[in-house]
């Protein structure tokens, strides 16, 4: 890796570690300090390395600078008076107060504890995801705005409010007590699931960014798996779901960043290694005696990695959607269930069920109906696709619907 590539790469990998540890150290009472110090550290790396060339060990250099800046800050600041002066006066200087611990273990622990701290039900879900992207993944405001199809001002406001809220609520950066871990973990898993979906189902044309979101969600989930307190069946189920889905990531978009429908995907682009990993985690996930939506969604995602288009495959997917909908309704799951019903039992049955859904404002609903009525009643099929075209929000969706229409006319 050359000099120009190295710093952005290190920013990606190290910024979040430094920020997590500093947050852990300073807490939410001083939310801007951690990010300021981390940013300054990289700024001074950019300046110094540009002038003097690369240090022998760039990561160690960054950690040393971050440590020193944190120390300087402590010395200059009220914190010094509150925390350190009494210690000095007691005649037993405890320099641990000054030391920013950047060992691997402490970095991992800080990141996990921050995950629990950020994933608070007191914050709206999107604020949790934005904070996770900013603090735990080191994403820039631009990138977060892109991911949410929003703008910088909105994201800045959202982050500011979220941190204020955490400060007001006096949220501590620590592990929940062991009996509470399982309950608190649900909020963490939900946020990671949303983070992954933000990347996987995003309509953003920026495929690299979308892939990054998915990878980050997987990296954070992996942190949970590595820690025995949080390595629970549902964590493995979520990981399995992410592995199966991401195995098809490259097959889902064409060279123009347009979505490729499942039936049209080039299966040679599916990544076997990830499918294999997914199976491994799904097996670990089935050790418990509970089935939650991550288990069901992981099993559905598994069946989607099976290349043979058989009745058995779609019947299995249908039954999994039947169960999923009973515990967690979503319009997408309702539409996918109907599609599986069509694949397993034919258009007649699927049309009857589709007509009951009445998701009239959902463009994908009309795309599905257009698909089901094709050949049986082309006039109706065209009418549904034209409605879908009116309702579709993005250019790439409109393009795809136009293609469908062209096939019918």
């Amino acid at each position: 890796m050359n000099k120009t590539e190295l710093l952005p790469h290190l920013f990606r990998t190290e910024y979040r570690k430094i920020v997590s540890v500093l947050y852990k150290h300073f807490g939410f009472e001083h939310p801007e300090i951690a990010e300021d110090i981390a940013s300054e550290t990289f700024l001074s790396a950019a300046e110094t390395w540009g002038l003097k060339g690369l240090p022998e060990n760039p990561v160690a250099w960054l950690y040393a600078v971050a440590r020193n800046r944190a120390k300087d800050y402590l010395k200059r600041n009220k914190i010094f008076d509150q925390k350190v002066t009494p210690i000095l006066q007691s005649g037993q200087p405890d320099y641990a107060e000054f030391e920013i611990d950047l060992s691997d273990k402490h970095i991992n622990d800080s990141q996990l504890q921050l995950m629990f701290a950020i994933c608070q039900p007191v914050l709206p879900a999107e604020a949790q995801v934005s904070l996770a992207l900013r603090i735990l993944c080191g994403f820039g405001i631009d990138e977060i705005a892109d991911a949410f199809l929003s703008n910088k001002a909105t994201i800045n406001k959202r982050l500011f409010r979220a941190k204020e809220k955490l400060r007001e609520e006096k949220v501590k950066i620590e592990f929940p007590a062991t009996p509470q871990i399982s309950k608190r973990l649900q909020a963490v898993l939900t946020t990671l699931y949303l983070l992954f979906n933000e990347g996987y189902y995003s309509t953003s044309q920026d495929t690299t960014l979308r892939k990054d979101l998915c990878l980050e969600a997987m990296r954070l989930t992996y942190l949970l798996i590595e820690n025995e307190l949080t390595n629970l069946p549902e964590t493995c189920a979520l990981m399995a779901l992410m592995c199966f889905h991401s195995s098809r990531f490259d097959a889902r978009t064409d060279e123009h960043g347009e979505m490729v429908r499942y039936d049209d995907q080039d299966t040679s682009l599916w990544v076997d290694e990830l499918i294999h990993k997914g199976k491994h985690y799904l097996e670990l996930a089935s050790k418990g005696n509970q089935v939650n939506k991550y288990h069901l969604e992981a099993a559905i995602a598994y069946w989607h990695t099976v290349k043979e288009d058989t009745i058995d495959k779609w019947e299995s997917i249908l039954q999994l959607y039947n169960r999923l909908l009973q515990i967690a309704y979503s319009p997408a799951a309702a539409l996918n269930r109907t599609y599986a019903l069509y694949k397993a039992r034919g258009k007649q049955d699927a049309i009857i069920e589709a007509e009951k859904l009445k998701l009239n404002d959902n463009h994908l609903y009309h795309v599905l109906l257009g698909h089901l009525y094709k050949d049986a009643d082309n006039t109706l099929a065209i009418a549904h696709l034209q409605t879908a075209l009116k309702l579709a929000k993005t250019a790439s969706e409109k393009t795809r619907i136009k293609k469908d229409l062209a096939q019918l006319k």
């Binding site: 959607y321 039947n322 269930r337 069920e353 009951k356």
Partner: protein, 117 residues
Amino acid sequence: MNEFLLIFRQVEENATESRSPEQMQATMKLWMDWLGGIAAQDKLVSNGNRLYNGTGSVVRPGNVVTNGPYVEIKELIGGYSMIKCDTLEEATEISKGCPILLVGGNVEVRQVVPMNM
């Protein structure tokens, strides 16, 4: 939006006969398809439960307890689910797809009266 309790009644001889695992699986699938279809319309409140039809008891005033299910009535409650929709007509329409009807049973559809606490 109102809630409706669907009470599934079955005929006694059908309820107690033993069935092969394959038959049970086929029946299970019918139920899952029906409930999945209701859930896909976002009209399922609760799967409810199936009731054990081996033994039960009936408690009457004056500490009179008899073994249930009833022998004098040829139907017994096999389970219940809860759905939500606007009208009784709609709830009735949904109930027409219930698999209990395929084995001679019936569905009683009753509107839930909300408690004003």
